[in-house]
Amino acid sequence: MDFSLTADEKMIQEMVRGFAQQELKPQAATLDAEHKMNLDNLARMAELGLMGMNIPEAYGGAEVGVVPYSLAMTEVGRACAATAVTMSVTNMVGEVICAFGTEEQKQKYVTRLCSGEYAAGAFGLTESLAGSDPGSMRTQAVREGDYYRLNGSKLFITSAEYAGVTVVWAVTDRQAPKSRRISAFLVEQDTPGFKVGKAEEKMGQRGSATNELVLEDCLVPAANLLGQEGDGLKIALMALDGGRIGIGSMAVGIGYEALDFARDYAKERVQFNQPIASFQAIQWMLADSYTEMESAQLLVLRAAYLKQQKTRFSREASMAKLLATEGANRACYRAIQILGGNGYIAEYPVERLYRDVRVTTIYEGTSEIQRLVIARHILNA
C-alpha cells in the first residue's frame, strides 16, 4: 500500500493550490458579501483544465483522473467554497453527459463546458416536493414529434443563472415503476420556456447562485434526451455518486482551512499569561478535528481511487462524503470555539467557513441519505 502522491498528482495539487491561494482566496470574502460569482474566475479555471478534469481529451477535457480531481477540489474548497461547488457541479455535468450522451451531445455540450464557452453546467434534479426522494418529482416531459414539452419547476439549482446547459430531469412515464419514471434532458440556457427564477438568499456559499427554475412549455429537441427514456433515476444516482467525491473533497478543504486558522490563532492568543494553545482543552479540539479531517481525506481519496480504477465506489463515496462533511462541520464549529468572540465576527474567515460548510451535509444527498446508502450496501452484502 502506497500513500504517497505521484509526481503528476503533486504537480496538479501544487498548481491548483497556487491558483486558488493567489487568485481565488483573496476574493472569497467579497463574493460572499456581494452574493456574486466572479465569472472571470470560472473562465480562467476552464483555461487551466479544471472544468473537465475527468473528461477525455477528445471532448476538450484534461483527463487527469479522479484522485487529482479530489485534490484539486480540496484546494479550491480551502480557498473559496462558492467557487468550489460551482466547479464541482460543472465537472459532474460534463461527466454525466460523457457517460450517457450521444456523440453529438458530447461534441456540442461537453467541449463547451470544458473550454469555458459555457461559464458552468447545472444539475436540475431537486423540486420543492422532491428532494431526498427525486423519484417522486412532478415536472413532466411529453413527447411531441421531434420535441419534448417540459412543464414544472426545479428548486435550489446551483449556477442555473449562468449555466450554458442544465441537465433537467422530468417524468416521462407516470405509470412506470419509480426507477423508470423519469428521464434526463439537456436544456440550453436560451431555450424558450426555460426561465431562471430568483437566486435564493443563503446562509453560506453565497458567491454561488442557487436558483429556482421554471419550465413553461419548454420545448426541448428530442435529440437532447440524455440516455434512454426511463434512464433518469439511474443517471442521477450515478452522477451523484461521483459528485459526492467532489463535495467530500471540498468539505475537507473547508475543514482544513478553518483548523489551520484556529491553530495559528491559538498559538498567538494569550489568556492567563499563556497562549491558549497550551490549554489541553484547546489541544484536544485541534487533535480530534485534525484526526477526523485526515481520516476523511483518506476515505475521499480511496473513493476517488476506486472511481479512477473504474470499479464500484458508491459505498465508499457515501462513506467519504458522510465523514468529510460531518467532520468538516465539527471542525468549523470548533474553530469558532477556539477563536472565541473573534470567531463569531465576520472579519475573521472562520465565520464564513462555518456558514459555507453547513450545506455540505445537505446537498448531493443528506447525511441521512448517505447512511441509508451505506447501510444498504452493508446489509445487502
Partner: protein, 256 residues
C-alpha cells in the same frame, strides 16, 4: 528562435529553515522553481509563442530537480536537460556556471534567460558567470524585454531607477519581477509534459571532470540568526534618543 532558460530548484519561500550539522536541512521542505526563474520561463514561452521556435529549460540539480523541470515543461517549455553529477552536489555558483556553459556550448540558441537571483543563496552570480564563460553580453535584472533585429531592448533595474539598454544577440538576460505575469501550468500542459523529453547528463557526458567544477567558495557552516533580543525603550531628550536610535539601527540592527 531558440531559447535556453536556466532554472534552479529552491525551497519554498515560506519554508522554515532548520540547521543540521552546520548545514541547512532540506527535510520536509517543499521545493519549487525559483520564483525569479519562473519569470524567465514565462518570458521564453511568450517569445516562442509569438515568434515560433523552441524553449529548452536546463538546470543543475539532483533527482528531485526533475520535478522542477517538469513544471517548466508543463508551463510550455519544449524539452529539458538536467545536469546531474555527484561532483556537483557541493558545487558553488562557479561550478554551476561552468557546467551550464559547457552544456550550452554545444547547443544552438538565440537567447538565454535566467532569474535575477535564486531565493536560497541570493547570490545573483550564475547569469553573469554564464555570460562570461560563453563570451556573451548580459543584461541583468530586467523588467521589460523587446525583441528587435539581432538585438533586444530591455529595461533593467539599477539603484534608484531604471536603465534602458540595447543588447546585441545572442545574450544572457536575468529576469526580475515585473517582467511578466507568470502563468499556471494548465492540466493539459501537465499531461503533455510527461511526454516531453527530459534528458539527464553527467559531467562525463559533457566532457568535464570533477576538478573542472570544484567549488571556489565553500560553505564552512550555516547557522540560524540570533534570536530576538528583548526590546529596549529609549528614554531622554528627543534629540539624544533619536541619535541613539539611528546609531543602533545602523550598527546593531544593521537595517539602514
Amino acid at each position: 528562435m531558440k531559447i535556453v532558460t536556466c532554472i534552479k530548484q529552491t525551497f519554498d519561500t515560506e519554508a522554515k529553515i532548520t540547521i543540521e550539522n552546520g548545514k541547512v536541512s532540506d527535510q520536509g521542505v517543499n521545493l519549487i522553481v525559483n520564483p525569479y526563474d519562473e519569470f524567465a520561463v514565462e518570458e521564453s514561452i511568450r517569445l516562442k509563442e509569438k515568434n515560433g521556435g523552441e524553449v529548452v529549460v536546463v538546470s543543475v540539480g539532483n533527482d528531485k530537480t526533475q520535478e522542477a523541470l517538469r513544471y517548466c515543461l508543463a508551463m510550455g517549455a519544449d524539452r529539458a536537460v538536467l545536469i546531474q553529477d555527484p561532483a556537483l552536489e557541493n558545487g558553488d555558483n562557479h561550478s554551476a556556471a561552468v557546467a551550464l556553459a559547457k552544456l550550452l556550448a554545444d547547443m544552438e540558441y538565440d537567447l538565454i534567460f535566467c532569474g535575477k537571483e535564486a531565493v536560497d543563496d541570493g547570490a545573483a552570480q550564475v547569469p553573469s558567470r554564464l555570460a562570461e564563460k560563453l563570451d556573451l553580453p548580459q543584461a541583468n535584472v530586467i523588467t521589460s524585454f523587446e525583441l528587435g533585429d539581432g538585438q533586444a531592448t530591455v529595461t533593467r533595474e539599477i539603484d534608484g531607477g531604471t536603465e534602458t539598454l540595447e543588447v546585441q544577440l545572442p545574450a544572457v538576460f536575468s529576469a526580475q519581477k515585473g517582467l511578466n505575469e507568470v502563468r499556471y501550468p494548465s492540466l493539459p500542459g501537465i499531461m503533455k509534459a510527461k511526454r516531453k523529453e527530459l534528458k539527464v547528463v553527467s559531467l562525463a557526458d559533457l566532457g568535464l571532470s570533477a576538478e573542472d567544477v570544484a567549488p571556489k567558495a565553500e560553505l564552512v557552516q550555516a547557522e540560524l540568526p540570533p534570536p530576538r533580543k528583548a526590546g529596549r525603550v529609549l528614554k531622554g531628550e528627543v534629540e539624544e534618543v533619536v541619535a541613539e536610535l539611528v546609531k543602533l539601527l545602523q550598527e546593531e540592527a544593521k537595517v539602514i
